[in-house]
Amino acid sequence: MTDVILEKVGKTYPNGFHAIPSVDLSIEEGEFIVLVGPSGCGKSTLLRMVAGLESISTGELRIRGERMNDKEPADRDIAMVFQNYALYPHMTVYNNMAYGLKNRGMAKELIAEKVTDVATMLGLTELLQRKPRQLSGGQRQRVAMGRAMVRDPKVFLFDEPLSNLDAKLRVQMRVEIRQLQRKLGTTTLYVTHDQVEAMTLADRLVVLNKGKAEQIGTPMDLYNKPATPFVAAFIGSPSMNLLGANLTEQGIKVSDALTLPLSHRHRGSIVWGIRPEHLAVSDEQNADFALRIQAVESLGAETLIHGKIDTASGDGEPMVVRLSGPHLPDINSVMWLTAPAQHWHLFDAMTQQRL
């Protein structure tokens, strides 16, 4: 069953700024959708439009078939977790969680029961009488989630909820959010700029760029078949190697030092891409090209090698190679590499679309 539908939803500010031209998205019940993109791409604006905190300029938002454009945030049956948690500082944890229920006129005993249930689920029972300032970052985060869960809404909205936590806690909370969402089965819309968070949490990802949805799909769809160079560069870490090239009779001419044989109908300038993990070490006879090594990042489990395609003039295109395990090649030495054809990504340089 389709739960949330955004139909040609757009946002124009009174000063004429087109924050979001038009976004189409339909979310299935229980689905975990992540909106991801660089800062300023309109992802938070889109979320706030669903929440009712920003007006919708054009298009329509429907939740369970009901048009929501003109409804107050309180009447949309959504709950939101804010980046700074937005806990009421003068209320105890219990009252923070009970506030929304009290406003809806729920009976006291029922409120107590619901709050206790959710507090137990989140391990907050000991903290119910504390004020937010007496809590750690992770605990505040959990209270903010408890406040959202206790109302049992149709849709959860998360606005970069983990960005104020330290790296270790972030990983832990990420796993916890995913587990909770699976358990509750509540449709979720989650905003982040962190592609690792996006990849690990999402059932489906929406990659936003300048207010436009560049691609919507499962994390693996986006990884394997990015629709545009923007998505290709955004998903995956380190980023895909993307080089301007020319598609000719002979194949893909990346530079004087690198021509890859390929028969393709398309002619003209393209963007050729290959992920750092798909480049393979080879020997001089079989290699496609040579890389002049400039920097090595050893992470133990993997090694990232930064270099330039080796040319006589030394101004070859930069490339990153990712090898598993430890490697310690000399800086300025040459490394022979192959770029297997099944891992190539080709985009039209003009339309920015995948070929």
Partner: protein, 292 residues
């Protein structure tokens, strides 16, 4: 950072101007008042005799003094509560507007720059029973206004005149306080189903309480001690004793009634009250109330 001076003399030399001002304009008069409180002086200042605590005894057996104390309390709390309510209302409205915000805020701050006596004169003219526009308008509406005869009306007039000046000050603090309330809290409350009215009273107002408490004390102190000019310019403490606050009574008894000893004794009591209020201020207000 600590600055050390090679000679012992220089620091004192640098402090001297401030110390002189304090000594001449604060310590000396205070000492004079304290001394005078124990003497009875004739009206021409030609002779005086030591009377011990008699001035204080007279004061505490004088029903007019207690009446003045009640007047002061009524006046001060009226000014503080009216000033805080109106300023909060204006600040909430100013916080919402987007266009012309700066102009609106600047205009609201102007009254604070008006001298108390001028503020008094301004309201005195507006409410003058024979020619003041507000008095005439009230007359047309069926309310007979004459604060020269009606003590309650006189009190209303001094409260309005004193409050008007203080609203700007309160407004500034409330506006700053409102702007410090994170937007996301209001948004969270909106999603939690609280009406705008409820959002204000359950979220915004509690978060403003440190500001409100600070302003309450500041306004009480203002109404107690700094409204002499307003009262003198509008009602001169009258009619009868109806707007004679403790501070006005010090002046009235001392310079009109020429009872310098009694006036000095009252000053000493006021000094005690100021001291007490300063302690309250430091104890409860300087201690920061913090939310994070």
């Amino acid at each position: 950072m600590t600055v050390t001076f090679p000679q012992k003399g220089l620091p004192w030399l640098l402090l001297l101007p401030q110390l002189l001002v304090t000594a001449v304009f604060f310590l000396w008069p205070a000492e004079q008042a304290l001394e005078q409180a124990f003497y009875r002086e004739d009206a021409f200042g030609l002779s005086r005799e030591f009377v011990g605590l008699e001035n204080f005894a007279d004061l505490f057996s004088d029903p007019l003094y207690y009446q003045s104390l009640v007047t002061t309390l009524v006046f001060s709390f009226s000014v503080a509560i009216a000033g805080l309510s109106v300023a909060l209302l204006l600040a909430v409205m100013a916080d919402r507007i987007i266009r012309g915000k700066l102009a609106y805020q600047t205009l609201l701050i102007w009254p604070y720059a008006v001298a108390p006596a001028l503020a008094g004169v301004l309201w005195w003219i507006l409410f003058d029973p024979s020619m003041g526009p507000i008095a005439l308008w009230l007359g047309a509406a069926g309310v007979e206004w004459n604060h020269y005869l009606d003590g309650n009306q006189a009190m209303i007039l001094v409260v309005i005149a004193s409050t008007w000046k203080q609203i700007s000050y309160n407004f500034l603090f409330f506006l700053a306080g409102l702007q410090a309330v994170p937007r996301s809290l209001i948004e969270a409350a909106a999603i939690d189903g609280a009406s705008p009215f409820k959002r204000f009273w359950t979220i915004v107002f509690p978060l403003l309480s440190p500001t409100t408490f600070f302003l309450l004390v500041v306004n009480l102190v203002y109404a107690f001690f700094e409204t002499f000019g307003v009262i003198d310019a509008t009602t001169k403490g009258g009619p009868g004793q109806s707007t004679t606050t403790l501070v006005y009574k010090v002046f009235d008894d001392g310079f009109v009634g020429l009872d310098l000893g009694g006036s000095a004794a009252q000053s000493v009591i006021l000094m005690g009250i100021v001291g007490l209020m300063t302690v309250v201020q430091f104890r409860f207000i300087e201690r920061k109330v913090q939310y994070s």
